[in-house]
Symmetry: C2
Subunit: 595 residues, 2 copies
């Protein structure tokens, strides 16, 4: 049996049911109409659609990137067909209420499905996933009329959506956006400005596009406190929800990217003719808060997207390593002997294991975080909900940044396993590598994620999220310490937790002394430290779950990959802890003139 | 002054003259007609040509890759113009004897020049550099008639050359090549076979192409002992050196690569019509030995090429970081204040420093190795020559593999510094990243380099090369330990040397016990260990040389980058040493069925 090119289904099922106990979310009333059977059916459907409709044109959409023709975006037809199939199968409304025609699925199961599409073709799935993100934001903050007129057509798969945050001069720093919104007598606004890096910003896939745009109302305070959220439809929308005339938002350019070429990335201009009609969502000046409200879920999505490109590369290189014969063992050079499959070479196995430990470790973490979203929203107990929220705050930047850094590295290794062939465009690993390169950049750069992790999340509520996380990890450690094959690893992780605690304390003390800049200067190393701890936890947890399953090749593989991660990868966290704890200033104190 | 996009000339001059004392090679009679002035003039010329003729079409050649039209390779005209300028300036014959019209330059100075071209446009410079490599091989092993007929036209810049080693089924494992050579009554051979991954394998840049081809003569022993080296000209060559009819070597396909798209990479078929005329070079069955004779120089070239892509990315991201304003310090969030240049953010400085420590560290190591080539060939003292040879054997795989791994990582970081812009094809860093991705693969994969380093070089002559290297490093340590600002780093490196010695000893003992496979299983970690030690040495040496120069921004930058490398990067070697010394078996013992 040749492995699936998107995921090892044994691993996915194992994480969902043996490790995370996904069925536990069935206790929430919102998911009453679901069961393990409906979960499995929807995952199976997603997997089939992902392979049949998305993977099938992944290379073609890379080779034929969207073009601007007469001011319109031209896409290859397979993109529209795949998106239609996605929407027809109900994935546009996977999370939505059944009353609105939605599947009312847990975020956990939805994430598992999205990831399959993302692994198959990250560019094409961007169109419907951005639309769904817009719908989610409207569900949370729009009024009833806006939901009916703008959200419902998205859930039905007829309209699409975007998130318009960045501007040419303001990417990471949203405090500096300039797009302005001028109130009109009828309660609407007129927008003026330009937005950059807008994915799926213009296309002909549906009847309309609902842009969700951050802008400043006239006289709003400077900085992040003066940002409001607006609906700007591509075509104006009448009070009865019918489509009106073209709105004053114009496609001003298309960015030419290294990868993810199938998803059009645009430069949009709003209100050049002074007639860009916009509706305020919720209260003025709350725009960034509304956006951040959805941020955890969006960032988990980006992290999972990165994981799945890593996974695709891993599976491709694994398949190649099993087939390709080349060379012999170092103590067996008889040229008359048959060359061995390269998976037999220790260094190739090392490269495969490194990829596997990254992609399956961070896949498990992403799904765990997705499950926390469900608990934080659905649990009847307020304390349980709050705990899930705190864990989620802490883990989200790790899911986004650690996964995207390391799974890009996994893609780099996949190319290496294939050698010269891996460097050609005839094999899929080079596209994975290019496609994945965006993930450390967008949805908050990984540098921003590290600052968020150390400066905000680790410091919030007197360190409550970290204490909670470490308590959860300690439970796994305690369980593992009773298993002789896992006990040594359990103690290593316990020691690493102590180092992470000490490093965090050192930063907190420094910040209390007012040394904020120096305290945060090694945020990237702190991300390595906590990320490695979190992934080591995921592996120990998987090893425990595997040990309970009984002894077979899959189980042994899980436990041995855990051993690999602890032996080869985890020690890096020790170095990171030292740099953080000692507040190493080698970069901080380096003057710009010395370069 | 905006920085040069290819190199920081202050750094290049500093390494050549302050650190390595490049003038010391002037004592060799071969370089008697040279002086620091001629060195500087030729470097200046190379730098100017690199920027004016090579960099100027680097992006265009990426966007317009070579096409096969009617069986011929079509290149953009700028490639031919740049190559002609390179050859007219004498670089085709940079190393050749003055008697043959060559510049008779040291390998050190030639390498410094080649690197500038390589940083400007690695694809275009591949054509003349491969030709020169073929000429070098002929100079070393061809007979007088072959030199006159095949080498001289290359030195004159009229003909080109290739190295034909790999075949579709045999890339890393040359023992398994199948191309066969059948002796003819007139002493010539007829070749039959196919060669894969042949760079510059067919084009119309010159009058002829001299393919240097590895093949087996009829009845030759199996494996590497039965491989001979042949000259196969694209057009047959008459006894008087004039060009004859087209030879039976055919362009069968062109590979479509992720990067380095301007240099055509070909699949060649030899003798399909039974008339592929070939001439044996030297003795039969010595082909691989002849190839390996040039291997150090070729691998240094690949390593330096990787360094220079890293350097180009570093300088581009440095320039961007100085110009781009975004965000504010974490303790200074006043939205009315002007955003700061991103170089002021500690994490951006960290990313720049990481790049700098990799590219300037490995640039220094590459030039040091290049100088050892000159010493090994020119020194009047046999012991000195032998020592240089041993050091070169040991350092070459490091120059190739460590540089290409880490300078690719530097390119990955350069993209990150530019954010969304870095991901577009409008900025040069994404091309650097794609272009550089080949370097860990070709000219012996980095996995092969690691096996070569640990299994052959570290074990040869009872560890003599390693003892020699560590002795040289210890001298720098002793000097540095007398400087109070460097003393602590000196002791850290001394401790790391001890770890490296112990790890090497552990492997040697294991191999003596017959555990060859397990002993070599962690070769990649051994590469990290010795690579980090070598680069730390380069930085300590640079810091010492800088300290002698007096106090200015450049000097401070050198010393502070050394501090950065020791604080943040070098500790990784400790982890690698542990894995090697303990013969960690987490990848070695992982069964293929467990994946």
């Amino acid at each position: 049996m040749s492995p699936s090119p998107v995921v090892d289904r044994r691993h996915l099922d194992f994480v969902l049911y043996d490790m995370l106990d996904a069925e536990s979310v069935l206790r929430y009333p919102r998911f009453a109409s679901h069961s393990r059977e409906t979960f499995d059916a929807v995952i199976e459907l997603a997997h089939r659609l992902a392979v049949d409709k998305f993977l099938s044109h992944n290379r073609k959409s890379d080779l034929n990137e969207p073009r601007m023709v007469d001011g319109k975006v031209e896409l290859i037809p397979e993109i529209g067909e795949a998106v239609a199939a996605f929407n027809e199968a109900g994935f546009a409304a996977a999370l939505a209420d059944e009353a609105r025609g939605g599947m009312q699925l847990p975020f956990l199961v939805t994430s598992a499905c999205d990831a399959l599409f993302s692994g198959a073709n990250p560019s094409t799935v961007a169109y419907p996933l951005l639309a769904r993100a817009a719908a989610n934001l409207l569900e949370a903050h729009a009024d009833a009329s806006q939901k009916d007129r703008y959200m419902q057509p998205i859930l039905a798969g007829r309209w699409f959506g975007t998130m318009c945050l960045s501007e040419p001069q303001a990417g990471s720093s949203l405090a500096d956006i300039r797009t302005s919104a001028h109130p009109q007598a009828d309660g609407s606004y007129r927008l003026e400005g330009a937005k950059m890096w807008i994915s799926a910003g213009d296309h002909e896939l549906g009847e309309n596009i609902v842009h969700l745009v951050l802008a400043r109302t006239t006289g709003a305070p400077a900085g992040v406190r003066g940002i409001s959220l607006f609906i700007v439809p591509r075509f104006k929308v009448n009070a009865d929800g019918s489509r009106g005339a073209r709105n004053d938002v114009r496609l001003a350019g298309v960015n030419h990217k290294m990868g993810q070429r199938g998803s059009v990335n645009t430069f949009l201009k709003f209100g050049e003719a002074g007639d860009c009609v916009a509706e305020l969502v919720g209260e003025p000046n709350q725009g960034l808060a509304y956006m951040f409200h959805m941020m955890n879920e969006e960032r988990i999505g980006v992290g999972m997207g990165a994981v799945m490109q890593g996974y695709a590369g891993y599976l491709n290189s694994l398949g190649y390593a099993r087939e390709r014969r080349q060379g012999r063992h170092p103590d067996q050079k008889d040229p008359a002997s048959l060359p061995i499959p390269i998976i037999e070479h220790a260094d190739v196995r090392r490269m495969l294991l490194k990829q596997r430990s990254y992609v399956e470790g961070s896949h498990a973490l992403g799904l765990y975080a997705a499950m926390l979203v469900d608990v934080s929203l659905q649990d009847p107990d307020a304390d349980t909900r709050h705990e899930a929220e705190l864990l989620l705050e802490l883990l989200t930047p790790i899911v986004k940044a650690w996964s995207s850094d390391r799974c890009l590295e996994a893609n780099e290794i996949a190319v290496q396993v294939l050698g010269g062939y891996g460097y050609t465009r005839e094999f899929p690993v080079e596209q994975c590598y290019r496609d994945n390169r965006i993930n450390p950049i967008h949805e908050g750069t990984n540098g921003i994620q590290a600052l968020d992790l150390l400066g905000r999340k680790a410091m919030m509520e007197n360190g409550a999220p970290l204490a909670l996380l470490f308590d959860r990890i300690a439970r796994t450690i305690d369980d593992a310490s009773r298993d002789p094959t896992l006990a040594a690893m359990a103690e290593e992780l316990r020691a690493m937790l102590a180092r992470a605690e000490a490093a965090t304390r050192a930063v907190a003390e420094r910040m209390r002394r007012g040394e904020v800049r120096r305290g945060l200067a090694n945020a990237a190393h702190y991300m390595t430290l906590l990320g490695h701890v979190a992934i080591a936890w995921m592996w120990l947890w998987q090893a425990l779950a595997a040990a309970r399953r009984g002894d077979d090749a899959f189980t042994r593989g899980k436990i041995a990959t855990c051993h690999y991660f602890f032996a080869v990868e985890l020690p890096e966290a020790m170095l990171a802890a030292k740099l953080v704890a000692e507040a190493d200033d080698s970069a901080f104190a380096f003057s710009a003139e010395w370069f």
